[in-house]
């Protein structure tokens, strides 16, 4: 298939855009592959792409139980940032950020990466100190960060209420200018097309329903579209991790599945040209290119596989939104939905070889796996191809929980709903 370009756009305009080829093939599954990735979300597709592109693996399939983009990759609030505190996390997410910066060109697909900044608000002097510390940690690892005063925040974001006569006054904030948002669907479609162009078979409507093993070694899969054998199987199924791993005989993991909701208001004229997060509760808000305000907050707080949430969280995040931007109070909500997030016990991800021979695991992404997509794809591909972790995911092991090497950014302990 030819490249997307201004020229191809023009050429297709002459035929009324009726002759575009579909962006990826719909192949029948073959009986045998070198690598099979379970889960056609952003991570699975990116992994397949980098496996073929960087590691030269041919003969790869991605198995997706539904349609591409129906999972969390199509349900998230699209925030991309690397404002972490722990070195292992800053390095990983900053590498991801760098991949984002060149991604549209790399995969020849406009992912609409918009580096509009992400601003975390501080409401207490202690929080401001903590942000200064985090900003310094980021600068030391080569990421970008700036501490903003209340006056500067007020100047940059006119709709934000910065008065001090409120329960949680804004004292300042930590901004990451290179952070921002991207187009979620474009990540699924763009990586799918790029992987397909590398010869990867993307097989939709193909649910994995069992593992074929020789002793402990995984040798293949039972799927709703027949048996498929594979030398290596990568699991990348986000909220479904525990279910799929159970099929492989792994009964327990340091992961719980929780529902995270997102909300979109009716479209408005440009109002918020960055991403703002409330520091006293949990709320993040940005404005989409169509004008709708996109916002979300905490997980509902109990184990769930329902892909829909309950009203209390909505009331909570809406209240936080109106506290910050009082002029939103009469807006109507257009849509809301939920996605099932794989909350790990320390809030950090797992990208590792094992836990069985022939099996590889990419999971535990909590609220933050969208921004990780390029780096997770690259690191998971490396781990699968080389049978050892990339330097950047060497800390993201499964046995870190047993060994006492958790990566707990917030220090909240092994309570998944709090990460």
């Amino acid at each position: 298939m030819s490249d997307y370009s201004a020229f191809s756009l023009l050429k297709n305009a002459f035929s009324g855009h009726r002759n575009w080829k579909s962006a990826w093939r719909k192949p029948e599954p073959r009986e045998n592959y070198e690598v099979v990735i379970i889960g056609g979300g952003g991570h699975g597709l990116a992994t397949a792409y980098y496996l073929a592109k960087i590691y030269g693996v041919r003969n790869i399939a991605v198995l997706e139980k539904g349609n591409l983009g129906g999972g969390n990759v199509g349900r998230n609030t699209t925030i991309v940032r690397s404002n972490y505190l722990l070195p292992a996390n800053i390095r990983f997410y900053e590498y991801s950020m760098k991949l984002w910066e060149g991604l549209s060109r790399e995969i020849n697909y406009n992912v609409m990466f918009s580096q509009r900044g992400v601003l975390n608000l501080a409401h207490t002097p202690g929080q401001l100190d903590e942000y200064a510390r985090r900003g310094n940690a980021m600068l030391m690892e080569g990421a970008d960060a700036e501490l903003l005063s209340r006056e500067e925040i007020s100047r940059r974001i006119p709709g934000l209420y910065t008065g001090q006569d409120t329960r949680f006054p804004i004292l300042g904030g930590l901004n990451q200018p290179r952070a921002g948002t991207a187009r979620h669907d474009a990540i699924a479609w763009g990586y799918a097309r790029a992987a397909d162009r590398q010869g990867v078979d993307i097989i939709e409507n193909c649910e994995v329903i069992g593992f074929i093993k020789d002793g402990d070694t995984v040798t293949g899969l039972n799927t709703t579209r027949g048996e498929i054998s594979a030398a290596k199987v990568g699991v990348s199924v986000a909220g479904s991790t525990s279910n799929v791993m159970k099929l492989a005989g792994i009964d327990k993991l340091p992961i719980e599945s929780h529902v995270l909701q997102a909300f979109v208001t009716e479209p408005l004229k440009p109002l918020i040209d960055t991403v703002v997060t409330f520091g006293a509760g949990h709320l993040y808000i940005s404005q989409s290119d169509k004008g709708g305000l996109v916002f979300g907050g905490d997980v509902d707080g109990y184990n769930s596989y329902a892909q829909r949430g309950n009203l209390p969280i909505f009331e909570h995040v809406a209240a936080a939104a109106v506290t910050m931007f009082p002029n939103l109070s009469r807006l109507r909500l257009l849509r809301n939905w939920g996605g099932i997030v794989d909350m790990s016990m320390d809030g950090s991800p797992i990208i590792c070889k094992g836990p069985l021979p022939g099996l590889y695991l990419n999971a535990g992404w909590c609220y933050g796996g969208f921004k990780a997509t390029p780096a997770a794809g690259h690191c998971f591909a490396h781990t699968i191809a080389k049978d050892e972790p990339h330097e950047l995911n060497s800390k993201y092991t499964l046995d870190r929980f047993f060994n006492g090497n958790e990566l707990d950014e917030n220090g909240t302990g092994p309570i998944p709903a709090l990460h």
Binding site: L253, I255, E256, Y305, N310, P312, A417
Partner: protein
């Protein structure tokens, strides 16, 4: 979602605080086996379907409840008290 507290009756879920999986049991304090403690602190079955879990009625009687809830439909099939009062709850919330 509403949970029927055996003491207070049916109340909004927001009155309760979720504690988590009720099937994990803390090992005896004299148990020095690392694996048992690891399983207790970190490992979860995370089932899709019926889940036994603890909720505390924090905004009212503060009882700790054992709730059987379906994680796909959110339907609650039973709520019981924990501790010496166990067995006084009801089926079919």
């Amino acid at each position: 979602m509403k949970i029927k507290c055996p003491i207070c009756g049916k109340r909004e879920a927001s009155e309760y605080t979720y504690i988590g999986d009720a099937t994990v049991k803390r090992p005896d304090v004299n148990n020095t086996d690392e694996q048992s403690w690891f399983e207790y602190v970190f490992q979860r079955r995370n089932p899709r379907g019926d889940h036994e879990e603890h909720w505390q009625h924090t905004a009212a009687c503060r009882s700790i409840l054992k709730v059987k809830r379906n994680t796909v439909t959110h339907k609650i099939s039973s709520v019981d008290l924990e501790g010496p009062w166990q067995g006084q709850g009801e089926e079919n919330n």
